[in-house]
Structure formats: structure tokens, C-alpha cells
């Protein structure tokens, strides 16, 4: 770790300002990239069409056009929701807040982080469930039957899939011996497999089952197909989002795709080695010997890994039909949770054995 940090010499308010700006970039940049690259372009190519082509080169400015359109729209509160208008208006902000709270613990480089929590992954899993509150509030306060059904479905689903997600992460935590995300990254990149350290020890190889379960749970937490029963547009119109328009809908929209990005970042931190490259490539041994340029390269590496993971999330999203909510509950409780428990047991036994 380099002691001559620029940020450390700044005043507290300047540091805070930098953190806020960094947080905005870390949330909005992945969201924008994901929307353009996957929602606009990849989806279109899968469906044998071109997607947006007019706004900017290859439609790359389409997102700004869409945001501009939404900002111009009227902020409507349904008549029946008027008594609780404040709560109705608050709901999307809670959903977006949980995304911002999540990104706080993601390490982007050896020194590029917002906070260095000892229990980082524990915190991340805890705040990721804050969004359930926002969704439930949105569904309830809309005074709309479709929204209510959607909100209740979402609450049931998000709580059910929190559990396999936590259990999948426990395998990683056992193997790394820490809950600190930064140290999980170091443990993967500085590690070795059977004495060979060419690729470090990314946990996707040893915790493959946990990785699969984690990605399935992420899919469900994001309420994306095949787990998009809460917003199922063919039956519930838009579920809990039905009554939202203008920039409040935009916030839900950003929240959805930013959360996809942040969850993919956390998944790449947990399973793909995060911001790091295998330390053996450059002769590093631990945190202190890492060159300073990794603070610039690290975020880019993490970003690349995130894009790869989001690609899979979106690929599934555009290909599959959706589960019915009793089927997806059964899938969580009867398949994912037992499998992840077995995974924990096997990991623990092997950890003691080796």
C-alpha cells in the first residue's frame, strides 16, 4: 500500500465530496453501460433487429435521450394514493439507496475503496435487502391491485432468495477466512492451487456450486426473467412499478440496472478475483508490494469482469420464460438452500482437511 496518497492529504469535506462523486460514477456508469450494451444492443441482436441507431453513433446517445424524455414527464401521484403521497414518492428512492449502500463496500483497487469494512460482505448482504422495503412500500402505497400483487410477490421472492445467496457466500467466507471484501480479493489473487500460482486461486474454481447459486439468487433479487413474477408485464402490467411515471420510474429503472451492475461487481469480487490480477504475474506477494498503477487498472479490470457477468444475467433474462411464484419459491427452498448447505458442509470439511 502506498503511503503517499493524494486523498489522505485532503480535508474531510473534500474527501467526502470525492466519495460522493465516486459513488455516483460507480453506480451510474455500470447502469448506463449495461442498459446500452445489453438492454438496447444485445437484446436487439438476439432478436434479429438493430436496436436504437439514430441518436449518436450506433444509437449510443439513446440513453440520454430516454433520460431527457423521462425527466420531462409529469410526476403523477394516483388519486387514491394521495393520502400517502409522501410514502408513494419515497419508495423508488429507497430502492436506489440500497444500491448506493451496496457499492460502498466494493473494493476497486488496492487503495481505491469507499470504506474498508471488516465485515464487508455481511454488510452488503444486509443492505441489499433494504430494497425489499422500497418495493413493498411502492406496491402498497400505489393503491392499485396489480401493484399490490406485484409488491407482495416481490417481498416473498426477495426474502426467499436472500437465504441461498447468504448461504452461497458462506462457502467463500469459509475458504477465505475473512468477511472483508478487500482481503477476499487478495486471498484469491495471492493464492495458489496445488502449489501453482499462475492464475492465483479464483474461488469460481473451488466454489463453483456457490457461484451458480449466487448468480441464480442475484437473478431473483434483481427480479429479472425467469424470476420476474413481481413485474410480470403480461399479467400485472408492471407490478409494483405500474403507477410510477416520469423520473420516479426512471429511478426504479436505474436502480434495477445499477443493482445488476453492483451485484455483478460483488460476484466478481467473491468469485473472479475482483480488481486484481494474479499477483504472481508481477512478482507481488501481498497488499503492500502492489504497484500503485493498480489503483487505475483495478477499476477497469473489475469493470470488465462485471460486464462479463452482467452479460450472463442479461442473456438469461432475454431467453427464458418466467416461473410461477409458487414454483420459484419451491425452487429456492427445496433445491437451492439444501444444495448450498451441502456446499457449506463440504467446504468446511475440506478447509479443515487441507
Amino acid at each position: 500500500m502506498n503511503s503517499a496518497l493524494i486523498a489522505a492529504d485532503l480535508a474531510y469535506w473534500a474527501q467526502s465530496l470525492l466519495r460522493v462523486l465516486g459513488g455516483l460514477v460507480a453506480v451510474l456508469l455500470p447502469a448506463g453501460t449495461v442498459v446500452y450494451l445489453f438492454l438496447f444492443k444485445m437484446m436487439s441482436f438476439m432478436q434479429s433487429r438493430l436496436g436504437p441507431m439514430e441518436a449518436g453513433p450506433y444509437g449510443s446517445m439513446q440513453l440520454f435521450a430516454e433520460v431527457g424524455k423521462w425527466l420531462q414527464k409529469e410526476d403523477i401521484v394516483p388519486a387514491n394514493a394521495q393520502p400517502e403521497a409522501r410514502i408513494f414518492k419515497m419508495a423508488p428512492l429507497i430502492v436506489l439507496a440500497s444500491t448506493f449502500l451496496l457499492v460502498v463496500v466494493v473494493p476497486f483497487g488496492p487503495d481505491a475503496w469507499f470504506t474498508d469494512f471488516e465485515v464487508g460482505i455481511f454488510y452488503a448482504l444486509a443492505v441489499s435487502s433494504v430494497s425489499v422495503l422500497g418495493i413493498l412500500i411502492a406496491g402498497w402505497s400505489s393503491a392499485n391491485k396489480y401493484s399490490l400483487l406485484g409488491g407482495l410477490r416481490a417481498a416473498g421472492q426477495l426474502i426467499a432468495y436472500e437465504l441461498p445467496m447468504v448461504l452461497a457466500v458462506i462457502g467463500v467466507v469459509i475458504q477465505a477466512g475473512t468477511m472483508n471484501l478487500q482481503q477476499i480479493v487478495v486471498a484469491q489473487n495471492a493464492g495458489s492451487m496445488f502449489g501453482w500460482n499462475g492464475v492465483g486461486n479464483p474461488y469460481i474454481l473451488t466454489q463453483f456450486v456457490a457461484f451458480i447459486i449466487f448468480m441464480i439468487s442475484v437473478q431473483a433479487e434483481l427480479t429479472q426473467t425467469p424470476f420476474d413474477m413481481p413485474i410480470a408485464e403480461s399479467e400485472l402490467v408492471s407490478g409494483y412499478m405500474t403507477e410510477y411515471s416520469g423520473f420516479r420510474f426512471l429511478i426504479f429503472f436505474i436502480g434495477e440496472f445499477a443493482t445488476a451492475g453492483v451485484f455483478a461487481m460483488i460476484a466478481s469480487v467473491l468469485f473472479l478475483g475482483g480488481w486484481g490480477v494474479p499477483f504472481a504475474w508481477f512478482g507481488w506477494t501481498d497488499m503492500d508490494s502492489i504497484d500503485n498503477w493498480m489503483n487505475v487498472a483495478g477499476p477497469l479490470i473489475l469493470f470488465t469482469k462485471m460486464i462479463v457477468l452482467v452479460f450472463f444475467i442479461m442473456w438469461v433474462r432475454f431467453s427464458f420464460p418466467r416461473f410461477r411464484e409458487d414454483q420459484l419459491q419451491r425452487f429456492a427452498w427445496k433445491i437451492l438452500i439444501p444444495v448450498s448447505l451441502v456446499n457449506i458442509m463440504v467446504t468446511a470439511v475440506l478447509k479443515v482437511a487441507f
Binding site: 437484446m43 426473467t225 425467469p226 399479467e235 431467453s319 427464458f320 420464460p321 418466467r322 410461477r324
Partner: protein, 390 residues
């Protein structure tokens, strides 16, 4: 309550009773969910009033008529050739198929029969509109179940068929091409080769859909065993078309009826499915598209030479009488009962459209299903709003 009809009033009372029953048993409060008339899942304006207990449907009732256009009445103030322009808007996805039974009924009254070439081309166009119609159903099935991609494949490949229909008739959606005594024109040059190519593409499309949807475990878990209609219930409710065949009834008017059309000149198979569930209905339709491409392929080989128009007077006057002709349309049995009093236009026309009878089973089949399955079952019953409301 003054706004509601008797039927709806009775249904409302039934809902109250069902609600009371649920309340006694579980002490929960029911909810009436009004699906439609404006709803993303109902392609058109069908309204379904569903009484829910949690996510379960206690009772459901379709409420049709939001798009009633009064075609039966309108035909009375039009001449026979003008009626085809009206009736091909009934089932707007397979519109040529709507014209044929009406023209056949008029021909029956007049004692005219179209030349063999016209019969052949009619059958080809009839099957092409079936393919255009049902291939869109296969894509739309994905959307109803949450898979967004298949529908774009469906629109892409239906476009080839529509191009063919346009090449032959000049109209993509509403050909208005059938005439009493034959057809307006002969086929254009190059139509036969083009059609062969398109049929090959459509068979590839069917394979794609089978891979994408029918082989998917989630699709199967959403459709197998859902919305089961047993054989006897299907017959009692007057279902027709693929919905009836999916319940195991071997019934196809193309084969069972002796009409002046060319179906019996091709070798094809009527598919049935013993299950009667949503999956069976979708699967039978998929096979139907395949069989239709086969029919078209075979008929293209055997188009006889000759005129496409029989000798009919310039001003058509249909002699007094009554005639009923029905055909196996993409959605099911479609028939016209034409009453003539010797004028240039019909005195009265009764249209029997398939979807109207097919959705009459909705209250029966939706009882006890979950809300997401409402959409699956409605999608698999496959109705076109114009075909319900006319």
C-alpha cells in the same frame, strides 16, 4: 348495479357467495381483479373479471363486446362482393380464411362452382393465412410467459408469408381477393418458387420455436397440467379447432367436410393430443403450422391449368334460399349462415366465429387456477378479439 346485465348480475351474486364461503373457511378477504379491457396481455379489449382469494381465482368471467362492430348487421346493407371486405376484418391475422366460407355459401346458393385452379389457389392462400396467424401465436406465447425473444422471430418470419399474400392479392392484411365464382386474379410470376422457399423458412421457424419454448423446462412447468379441458367438457362448451383437437377429439373440418376446396388433394395429418392442457393446445398448433406448410408445398406441385374465374353475371343476384358453410379456420370452426331473398345483398347473415365459442369455457377452466396461469390459459386458448366481438 344498474349498468350491469343480468348475466353479470348473477355472476356478481355468485362472487359474493364465493367470497362469503372463503371468508368463513379462511377468514380472508377476497379481491376482484379486473383484467382488461385495457391490459397488455389481452391483445384487444377482452375484459376478464376475476374474483381472487390471494393468488387463486375463485371465479372468473369474460366480458366481451368492447369492440363490437356490428358486422352481421352491416352485411345486410351491402352487396355480396362488398361483404368480403367486411368479413376479412373479423380474424385480422388470418383474414383470407374469413372470406372463403362466405363466398362458398354464396356460391352454394347460386349453384356456381369455382374452377379447379381457383380452388387450388384458394386453398393455398387459406393455408398461408393460417400459417401467418398461427406463427404469430407461437411467438406471442413467449411474450405471455415472459420470454421476449420468440415474438420477434415470429414477426420476422410471418413477414415472408405476408409478402407472399401481398404478391398474390395486393393486400397484406386484408386481401379482399375472393370472388363469387373464383378469384380476382391468377397467381403472379415467380410465386411458386418463392412460396417453396418461404415454406422451408417457416419449417425452420417451427423448429426454432420448438427448441426455444417447447423444450424449455420452465415453459413445460408453466403449461403442462395447467388449464386441463377434458374431452367431454370441450365438446359441451362447443370448442373447435386446435383447442378441441388438443383435448383428444379427432375433428377437422378440412378433412371431414366435402367442400369445393383442394385439401383432399394433399396428403397431411390431423394432429391430436390426449392431455387437453395448455401445452397440448400450443403443441397442436405448432404441428398445424408444419402440416400447413406441407399442404402448401404439395398443392404448389399440382395446380391445374385453366381459368381462375367461372362464368358469373356482372351484377350478382343470389337466388332465394338459405345456406350454411363452415370451414376450419386458424382459430377453429368459422361459419356463415346466409339468408338470401333474391337481392344483390344478403337478407341476413349469421356469423359463427371460433373465438366466441372458445372463450365461453373461460369461467369453467379458470376456476381455481393461480393468477399467472390465467394468462397462460388465455394465451393457449388463443382468441382474436375481432373474432369474439365481430
Amino acid at each position: 348495479m344498474t349498468m350491469l346485465g343480468d348475466r353479470q348480475q348473477l355472476a356478481y351474486i355468485a362472487a359474493q357467495a364465493a367470497d362469503a364461503r372463503v371468508n368463513v373457511e379462511l377468514e380472508t378477504e377476497g379481491m376482484t381483479l379486473n383484467i382488461g379491457p385495457q391490459h397488455p396481455a389481452t391483445h384487444g379489449t377482452l375484459r376478464i373479471i376475476a374474483r381472487l382469494d390471494g393468488e387463486q381465482v375463485v371465479w372468473a368471467e369474460p366480458s366481451a363486446g368492447y369492440m363490437h362492430r356490428g358486422y352481421e348487421k352491416l352485411t345486410e346493407v351491402r352487396t355480396y362482393p362488398q361483404v368480403t371486405a367486411l368479413v376479412n376484418r373479423i380474424d385480422w391475422l388470418g383474414s383470407f380464411a374469413n372470406e372463403v366460407p362466405f363466398i362458398l355459401a354464396a356460391e352454394k346458393l347460386m349453384g356456381v362452382e369455382a374452377p379447379a385452379r381457383a380452388q387450388h389457389i384458394r386453398t393455398i392462400l387459406f393455408e398461408l393465412s393460417r400459417i401467418a396467424n398461427v406463427s404469430l401465436f407461437l411467438g406471442d406465447l413467449g411474450v405471455q410467459l415472459g420470454a421476449v425473444t420468440p415474438v420477434f422471430f415470429a414477426f420476422r418470419d410471418r413477414e415472408y408469408v405476408l409478402n407472399l399474400i401481398e404478391a398474390a392479392t395486393g393486400g397484406r392484411f386484408h386481401p379482399n381477393f375472393d370472388r363469387i365464382g373464383g378469384l380476382k386474379d391468377d397467381l403472379p410470376a415467380g410465386f411458386i418458387d418463392e412460396t417453396r422457399m418461404v415454406m422451408k423458412k417457416l419449417r425452420t421457424f417451427c423448429d426454432q420455436i420448438e427448441d426455444l419454448l417447447f423444450g424449455n423446462e420452465i415453459f413445460q412447468s408453466r403449461t403442462r397440467g395447467i388449464g386441463v379441458i377434458p374431452k367431454d367438457v370441450a365438446l359441451q362448451y362447443g370448442l373447435s379447432g386446435a383447442n378441441l383437437r388438443a383435448s383428444g377429439v379427432d375433428w377437422d373440418l378440412r378433412r371431414d367436410q366435402d367442400l369445393p376446396m383442394a385439401w383432399n388433394k394433399a396428403d397431411w395429418k390431423v394432429w391430436t393430443h390426449p392431455d387437453g392442457d395448455s401445452f397440448a393446445r400450443c403443441w397442436v398448433r405448432l404441428q398445424e403450422v408444419r402440416e400447413s406448410t406441407k399442404i402448401v408445398d404439395q398443392l404448389l406441385d399440382t395446380i391445374p391449368a385453366g381459368p381462375v374465374m367461372a362464368k358469373v353475371p356482372k351484377i350478382i343476384k343470389v337466388p332465394e334460399g338459405e345456406a350454411w358453410v363452415s370451414t376450419e379456420n386458424p382459430l377453429g370452426e368459422m361459419g356463415y349462415y346466409v339468408v338470401s331473398q333474391g337481392d344483390q345483398g344478403p337478407f341476413r347473415v349469421k356469423i359463427r366465429s371460433a373465438s366466441f365459442n372458445n372463450i365461453s369455457i373461460v369461467p369453467w377452466v379458470l376456476k381455481g387456477v393461480y393468477v399467472p396461469d390465467i394468462i397462460t390459459i388465455l394465451a393457449s386458448l388463443y382468441f382474436i378479439l375481432g373474432d369474439i366481438d365481430r
